[in-house]
């Protein structure tokens, strides 16, 4: 899309959310008049003589410079003492297989998936192995999940209006995309409007056990979890509560993952610094877990995570090796690594010295340390 087209699109798209307000100047003037009565700024007020001001300024400069130097030294030491993650022999890595189609998942040094594109030469070239879109496909949310080099699932929005799907069609391949089968048609349980975010996530633990998560960002939010134990042909609603019992946790935030590391234990994570709205999460809770296959869910309150209106939080879907895993959280721009246990429990590992590129992109297994 060239610059002119993009600019035209911006004007069209944002003019819809910015109807003209000819009364704005009057409204601003009236509001200023109202507030000025209560408060008058103290312009030009001096609380000390110029010489004293210069002395205070000099002290502040010295203190700030010392603090900056200390921070620089700490950053230097951290970076140069980082322990690279090394692959451990054997041992499976369990991570969410679902993504939005843009993340790369390599199964060995040559073979991997990026949505419905596949590489066999380590990512140098990619081949589109997408299935034929089912009848009634419309633009809208979709999900993709690759379990191994040959097995993958993909979903399509279907309906009559873009971004207002009435049903999600699930397709699968067991031969690296050479052929696809339509496995199931899952009705969307709400009449969705394109104005309100509707999200769809997919995860498969193995060839039989899979889960679907749907979220419709009305207020209160509506959420559903479905499960299959036959590889995706039959799905049943497993969640008990219309909001999974999570209330408005991570309201209107982007989902970062649905992940089950056992048939019973699953994780939902959200990112609230890049959501579909500008809504702050409740405290710092952007992680929820289930211990009964998706029937009931509970938020995870991580010890040491800040709460309050000034903190925007993100969490990644966890990655497990055996009984332990890690996930990354971000509080505003500050990262925290969390060690999580497959059976429950978590602790902040700070600093967790990893080379981040190793997580999720190395084949075999990973060892998180120290």
């Amino acid at each position: 899309m060239d610059e002119l087209s993009l600019r035209t699109l911006f004007h069209g798209a944002l003019d819809e959310v910015a109807p003209p307000k000819p009364w704005l100047a009057t409204a601003v003037r009236e509001e200023l008049d109202r507030r000025r009565v209560a408060v008058r700024p103290r312009r030009g007020f001096r609380f000390a003589k110029p010489a004293v001001q210069r002395a205070i300024a000099a002290v502040l400069v010295v203190l700030i410079a010392a603090g900056a130097a200390a921070a620089a030294i700490a950053i230097y030491e951290h970076r140069h003492n980082a322990v690279p993650v090394i692959p451990a022999p054997g041992g499976p890595v369990t991570r969410a297989c679902g993504n939005d189609g843009n993340s790369v998942r390599m199964f060995d040094k040559n073979v991997g998936w990026r949505g419905t594109e596949r590489t066999t030469d380590g990512g140098r070239t990619w081949r589109n192995v997408s299935p034929q879109a089912p009848a009634g496909s419309v633009k809208g949310p979709g999900a993709f999940c690759s379990l191994d080099p040959n097995v993958a699932w993909a979903t399509f929005s279907t309906g009559s209006v873009p971004y207002q799907p009435t049903r999600m069609v699930l397709m699968s391949t067991h031969d690296a995309g050479q052929s696809w089968t339509q496995d199931a048609v899952i009705p969307v349980p709400w009449t969705v409007s394109w104005r309100i975010n509707f999200s769809f996530l997919l995860d498969f633990l193995d060839l039989q056990h899979g889960w679907i998560f749907m979220e419709y960002a009305t207020n209160p939010v509506q959420r559903r979890v479905y499960a299959t134990s036959d590889g995706g042909r039959d799905w049943s609603l497993v969640s008990n509560a219309p909001d999974l019992g999570l209330g408005n946790l991570a309201f209107d935030c982007s989902q970062t993952g649905l992940m089950f590391n056992t048939p019973q234990r699953g994780w939902l994570t959200w990112g609230c610094s890049s959501g579909f709205g500008d809504t702050q999460p409740s405290g710092a809770q952007v992680i929820a877990t289930t211990n009964d296959g998706g029937r009931t869910w509970a938020p995870v309150q991580l010890d040491g995570m800040p709460s309050g209106s000034d903190w925007i939080c993100d969490a990644t879907s966890p990655i497990f090796t055996g009984g332990n895993g890690v996930l990354q959280t971000r509080v505003n721009s500050f990262s925290l690594w969390i060690r999580v246990m497959a059976s429950g429990g978590s602790e902040i590992q700070s600093p967790l010295r990893l080379t981040a590129v190793a997580l999720g992109h190395r084949h075999g297994s990973i060892t998180a340390g120290p």
Partner: protein
Amino acid sequence: MATQPASLAAIQAAKAGDDAAFERLLEPLLNHAYRLAAGLLHDHQAAEDAVQEAAFKAWRKLSQLREGSEMRPWFLAIVANQCRSSMRSRWRSTVGFEGAEPAIEASDDEVVARVELRRALRSINQDQRLVLVLHFYLDLPVGEIAPIIGISPRGAETRLLRATNELKRRMEAHRGRT
């Protein structure tokens, strides 16, 4: 989109406490400020609130406007920061826009494209969203964007390029398979 620089005398009068002078300086900037806020918040009422709040802060901070500085980039920076605070602290209903549904005369493809843009814009980080709205919606060149976001023109150009690429990538990602 050039504007007449505010006269030095008008700014000095406003700094000296002439409220009417301040309002005369501010009024030509309000439309840009509202469009900026609406582009960042996607809510016309929230945008109006942000502009009013920013106007009050500008009145209180007018003494900080340097001699010879343009008022527009200074005020738009205040508006952008106000929008950032609003996004951090505000609970909002996600139920579409308030008021009547806008008349849509465009074809379906255009409607879809606009939805995709707004979704992609909302999913992008605030710094990138700001530079995109300033350039593609307020039609400001890089030279005028730089002082608003407080970086060099070269830095603004780089940020704009990255933001544009990221926006296009997200718009592609939001599209379903067809």
